[in-house]
């Protein structure tokens, strides 16, 4: 029966599940990155164009901890998001926070410029050929229909866990209710005695930390490269547009969903695999400009 279906589709199960897994992996990165963008945009109203560079810094952070300090992957997984998140906090305090009273466009321009500067600095220091980072979980398991490398399974698992934990924190906890309320009406939340500017700073740090975490996860899969972020972030922005700016569950579901769709396109119509997300973006923009999960505002 299975054989018949695959024959009918004209693909081998290995190819199909292999691409599905790659799609899930890509989806994991889309989800983590678009989630961070969504959280930051919701709270700060800033489209964080530095997100890709911060993801890249996460990967470099893992590499640097290993090479300069001998700290292995598992240490980097915790330390790097904290360090890069702290860097984000500094950025917000010193630069971004000065632009809140201006049009969104200024925040976008600032973060875009910062991304170029950061990428340039890393390129100058480390070149653009890419640095290798060893797989901390070599090997894998034969599942019958496909081979699952341990590390790829780990990436999918940890990103699902982190995404769901973030969703739970925002939608179901007291702290999250402050965040949701301040996203809607920061002035009133502040007038209730809550230090909204500090919440904005911490939120930015958290979103940047998520990007750095994605960078650490990516280091053993993709080569650690100064432009790894700018390649990825274009697709992530398309994901965010499709899911709807500011929706938490929306960015998670859309991230994983589009990764899988992209993977399937590679199997059935490889010519379109690089453009399918942008085609979907165009269609969504025409039919639901606020995105699949977004509410117009």
């Amino acid at each position: 029966m299975y054989d018949f279906i695959f024959q009918f589709l004209g693909v081998s199960p290995q190819a199909l599940f292999g691409q599905l897994l790659i799609g899930l992996i890509n989806g994991a990165f889309y989800a983590l990155l678009s989630l961070g963008l969504a959280v930051i945009f919701g709270m700060l109203n800033v489209i964080n164009f530095t997100h890709g560079a911060q993801y890249m810094m996460g990967a470099f952070g893992a590499w640097m901890l290993l090479h300069y300090l001998g700290i292995p992957y598992w240490g980097a997984l915790i330390l790097v998001p904290v360090i890069i998140g702290a860097f984000g906090i500094l950025l917000e305090r010193l630069l971004l926070s000065r632009l809140y009273h201006l049009d969104h466009l200024y925040g976008l321009l600032l973060t875009f410029g910062l991304a170029l500067i950061l990428e340039g600095l890393f390129r100058k220091q480390y070149g653009s050929s890419g640095l290798p980072y060893n797989n901390p979980l070599p090997g894998g398991i034969h599942l019958g229909f496909m081979f699952l490398p341990w590390y790829r399974g780990w990436v999918v698992l940890i990103s699902i866990v982190v995404c769901l934990a973030t969703w739970f924190m925002i939608e179901k906890t007291k702290l999250g209710s402050y965040l949701r309320a301040a996203t809607e009406n920061p002035t009133l939340v502040r007038a209730f005695g809550i230090n909204v500017p500090r919440m904005m700073t911490l939120t930015y740090g958290f979103g940047v930390g998520l990007a750095a975490l994605a960078g650490v996860l990516a280091a053993p899969i993709y080569s650690v490269n100064p432009i790894m972020g700018s390649n990825l972030i274009i697709v992530v922005f398309a994901v965010v547009v499709i899911g709807g700016m500011g929706s938490i569950m929306g960015s998670i579901v859309t991230g994983f969903g589009l990764g899988v769709i992209e993977g399937l396109t590679k199997v059935f119509y490889p010519e379109a695999s690089n453009t399918v997300i942008f085609i979907i973006m165009a269609i969504v923009l025409l039919i639901r400009p606020a995105g699949l999960f977004g509410t117009p505002r």
Partner: protein, 236 residues
């Protein structure tokens, strides 16, 4: 002398929205335990006065003392922490929060606030609708929620901006009963009202505002005697 020092004392309060100068030297005060109203026609600056006291208006000058502390230079989160609870004219119920989350949102700023049970006793409707989305409530229920959530915080002074606006008479009566009950508990209220009849049933004193400044002041008991003057001010 210390006993008669007002809890809230605003002097020569000026406020601007960008270039537009809206408050031109408001001077008024509220003593502890009093219910005081700001009366006045549409657009005279009553809401702006509340916002200026709360520290929400960006540009403001003059003096606003609360419990002796000068607040004119403080950000709104610190002003709230001194013990002021704000119920805005547009009610400000959060659509991404359910009723209970809305109710629990403002943090306690002083000891002695009501417990959730006490709040529910005062507003039984809010208990029944606990898990509904905040903005799915009726206008009256949203108004009660907006008042209820600042009762938990222990704030000594409540700023209520037109709590009866657009509500059915039964709801207006319930809100009136609540305000009298709050007064009995020793709370202090600064109330903006267009509904003179309602204001007279809850307040101790009234200020009349015109063009961003106080133009007249009455004790509630002298209201009847000054009816004509007041109606001239309000244009009713």
């Amino acid at each position: 002398m210390a006993e008669t020092a007002p809890l809230l004392d605003a002097r020569d309060l000026n406020a601007w929205y960008g270039e537009s100068h809206v408050l031109h030297g408001m001077t008024f005060s509220v003593r502890k335990g009093e219910v005081v109203t700001l009366l006045g026609r549409n657009g005279v600056g009553k809401t702006t006065t509340m916002r200026a006291v709360m520290g929400i208006v960006q540009k403001r000058t003059g003096s606003v003392r609360f419990g002796g502390t000068e607040t004119i230079g403080l950000p709104s989160n610190l002003i709230a922490r001194l013990g002021i609870g704000y119920c805005p004219e547009e009610r400000g119920i959060f659509s991404s929060l359910n009723v209970t989350e809305n109710l629990l949102l403002p943090p306690a700023v002083k000891a002695g606030g009501m417990s959730l049970d006490e709040v529910h006793k005062l507003f039984p409707q809010l208990k029944e609708r606990a898990r509904s989305q905040g903005t799915k409530l009726s206008g009256g229920e949203q108004q009660m929620l907006a008042i209820a959530r600042i009762l938990r915080t222990g704030a000594e002074l409540l700023l209520l901006d037109e709590p009866t606006e657009g509500l059915a008479p039964v709801i207006v009566q319930q809100i009136g009963a609540v305000i009298r009950d709050l007064k009995k508990r020793g709370l202090t209220v600064l109330l903006v009202e267009q509904n003179l009849h309602f204001a007279a049933t809850v307040a101790d004193r009234h200020y009349v505002v015109e063009h961003g400044t106080v133009v007249d002041e009455f004790e509630n008991k002298d209201l009847a005697a000054n009816r004509e003057r007041l109606e001239a001010h309000l244009g009713v």
